[in-house]
């Protein structure tokens, strides 16, 4: 599974980090950091993160 975030769209709202805390985190500065190829066990949560992102910046591939 590949997790792609369109950083031109991302506004650092951090909703993804609430939905899928293993894959997405907000750093000290409040900026998004994420795991681009997380374990398959994270699929449901990663998809939920893509769903809730207010600006729909997250794409999950294969």
């Amino acid at each position: 599974m590949k997790v792609i975030v369109d950083l031109a769209k991302c506004q650092d709202h951090g909703q993804c980090a609430i939905a899928a805390p293993v894959v997405f985190q907000m750093d000290e500065e409040g900026k998004l950091v994420w795991d681009g190829s997380p374990d398959e066990s994270q699929r449901l949560e990663a998809e939920e993160a893509a769903d809730v992102c207010p600006v729909q910046a997250i794409l999950i591939q294969d």
Partner: protein, 401 residues
Amino acid sequence: MTGTAAVDAAPYFDVTDPSFSIKSAAVHEARERSWYARTNYGLAVLRYEEVSRLLKHPKLRQGSAAWPAHNGITEGPFADWWASWVLNKEGEEHHRLRRLMNPAFSPKLIGGLVPRFQALAGELIDGFRESGGCEFVSEFAEPYAARVIAIMLGIPESEWPVIARESATIGLAMGVTIRQDMPKIEAALANLYAYADELIADRRRGERDDFVSALVRAHRDSDSLSDTELRDGLLLLIFGGFDTTRNQLGLAMQTFMRHPDQWRLLAERPELGGKAVEEVMRVNPTVTWVTREAREDFTFQDLDIAAGTTVHLFSESAGTDPRVFGEYSFDIAADRKPHFGFGGGAHHCLGHFVARSDMSEALPLLARRMRDPRPAGGEEWLPDSGNTGPVRLPITFTPAA
């Protein structure tokens, strides 16, 4: 205190003065001098970049939690209910509620409601179109906002006046007479609790393919929403979604009456409905400030902000910041940076997919059937700081098919 000199030079506003206007030239002029102003309610942030960063800043929390306590209300059903809101929770407690509630607000579920939003808008417009005039708030914005909620709750749409009435009563708690109004407010709360309990019991007996069932089903691993949390969740929908949507629709009408060419464009190109909503919320948001509170002392751009400081993010001032948007223009076809009308960060509006979807269906239908709308006089408005919008907005127009 590296920031002392800048502190003293900062503009000052008395935001409780009835003549203060948050969308005024005075605020815009202050924005050109300084990214922030001081007010009798704490700091006001005026520019796009700074609002965007502070909205999500890890050192700030949502700032509405202390409101009842500021007014001497520390116990009883109202204080308990207030504390239960997701808006007033922080950290892991807040995140748990969001995780459980988010799926019910998913864009996938809401997409299925679009035909019902369209039918509802059409029905309301047909009710007054031929007369060539209407009172836009009571004949369109209010029933539309309340019936969208009824659709989501799966209750008969004819019950919308209950939602409107009880919600208006509880809204008295926003005002300075909150203490005197408390018995009325708590009675309205009890009515709505009973209503919500009945809905939950019904869906527990037999699930449907709807929003309330999605909430009832919501669970993560072994965690799920308790009956109390479910009930509070349903009330959230009513209080978070009703006034806001009604007011934002009224403000949209006001903005378009000032820009008739854009209204005509929207009638010709209904696919611009979504962008029209964004453009309206950028220049004329109903939530004119979003509140934060400093968790601890910190320094932001040379300004020292002490723990406990209230920080108001001025959404209209940020949304019209010439540094980002250039000279003022209202153009529903333009590509713009995001506005702050739904707040941001961890507390970013939970219902924004619903609100965006229902308003972007309503506006093009209105534009097509009501040509050249004009104010007809007799308007009444809420104060323009905090959550604003028209209370009455009589208009006239040329009916079209």
